[in-house]
């Protein structure tokens, strides 16, 4: 039940971001789906691993792979799916709490939150790197044959 609720919310917010980024008309719901699945992976792996960094990595990996698959299937650039899909994962909350701690002159908490935010951003990047590299090497192997 909780998962369905999470999927619905992240799906709808990704659809909103699709409109802000003026995604192609036919693809709004499809890349909303990518964002929803990405968030579900984040949600369920964060319960399992109890670490937001690892779970963000898996979520970004999922978004990347789904984006590449969809781009192959619908013959559109992968960016169209990946950019909106990644938005719910971006550590806006971490940025805010870091700033809050700095304003309250709690530098220990700021360093704690700040590093976590930085690592979450790195995890998103690494997830995307892995998925893009995978898809490119698969393409190369196919091309050689």
């Amino acid at each position: 039940m909780e998962i369905i609720k999470n999927f619905l919310f992240s799906f709808l917010s990704t659809v909103g971001f699709n409109i802000i980024f003026s995604a192609p008309k036919g693809l709004v719901l499809k890349s909303g789906f990518v964002g929803g699945i990405g968030w579900i992976v984040l949600y369920s792996t964060s319960i399992y691993f109890n670490s937001s960094i690892i779970s963000t990595f898996f979520a970004a990996l999922t978004v990347g792979i789904l984006g590449e698959l969809f781009s192959r299937h619908y013959k559109k650039p992968a960016t169209v799916f990946i950019i909106p899909g990644i938005i719910p994962l971006v550590p806006g909350a971490g940025m805010y709490y870091t700033m809050l701690a700095l304003v309250e002159k709690d530098f220990l908490a700021a360093a704690d939150k700040g590093t976590e935010t930085l690592f979450i951003a790195a995890a998103i990047s690494i997830g995307l790197i892995v998925s893009t590299t995978l898809s490119r090497s698969i393409k190369r192997v196919k091309y050689k044959r």
């Binding site: 909103g16 980024f21 995604a23 008309k25 990946i82 950019i83 938005i87």
Partner: protein, 262 residues
Amino acid sequence: MNYYDNYDRQEAKKLLLLAILAGRTMLKNGAETYRAEDTVERICKSRKNIKYADAFVTPTGIFASLEYKGEILTYLMRIKSTRIDLNKINLVNEFSRNFVNSNMPISKGIKKLKELNKTTTYNAPLKTFFGGVACAFLSLLFGGSILDFISSFIVGFFVVLSVNKINKYKMTFFINNSVGSALASILAILLTKIGLGQNMDTIIIASIMPLVPGVAITNAMRDTISGDFVSGLSRGMEAIFSALAIAFGVGLILNIYFKGMI
């Protein structure tokens, strides 16, 4: 040099212009560097008599040159503002595929590209409304209540509206992001004061999300792994400074709030 030769040379020049225009449209709307480079090269090489074509793309400018009958033609184009428009990337992608695979006249191609540059997928009010919707559902996702949902919608709506308004005056992204995040914090504080919002933190976090540099982070990484280190660095810088701008806006307002002035 007879008449036909001269004519062909003009065509080669036009082809380079077309290619670089296509690359520029892609880059201006948030495509990755390698995609823009690839498009420029493909378009150049699609016509006969062109032996060598290469492009060097950075987020702030495009350089491209091609060799036509032993002569090298070069073109440079500067890119100043970038905004995200995924549909245009998609349309240029389709256009370049069509152009390469068909025998489309070059002047017709330039005309099509210019038309394509003017298209708008969604009008501004719809975009602003969905900006509010996106923020509202994000607040639920981050554990907000139904009251937070409503106030995030209001705050997100005004943030997207004001950022779009500022965008028209061609300010730098730093002003844009810090004003947007400051506005988000002020509105969130006010709405919590009058009792419409319950969790101020959640509302602020959800409504700064449209400003957060997710695209810059994504593209910086995708550029770096494709070996475009200059573009990767420059987009990484963009990401870091957008984040700083947002933090500055929020921090300023929170500081004032904690001093008890609001």
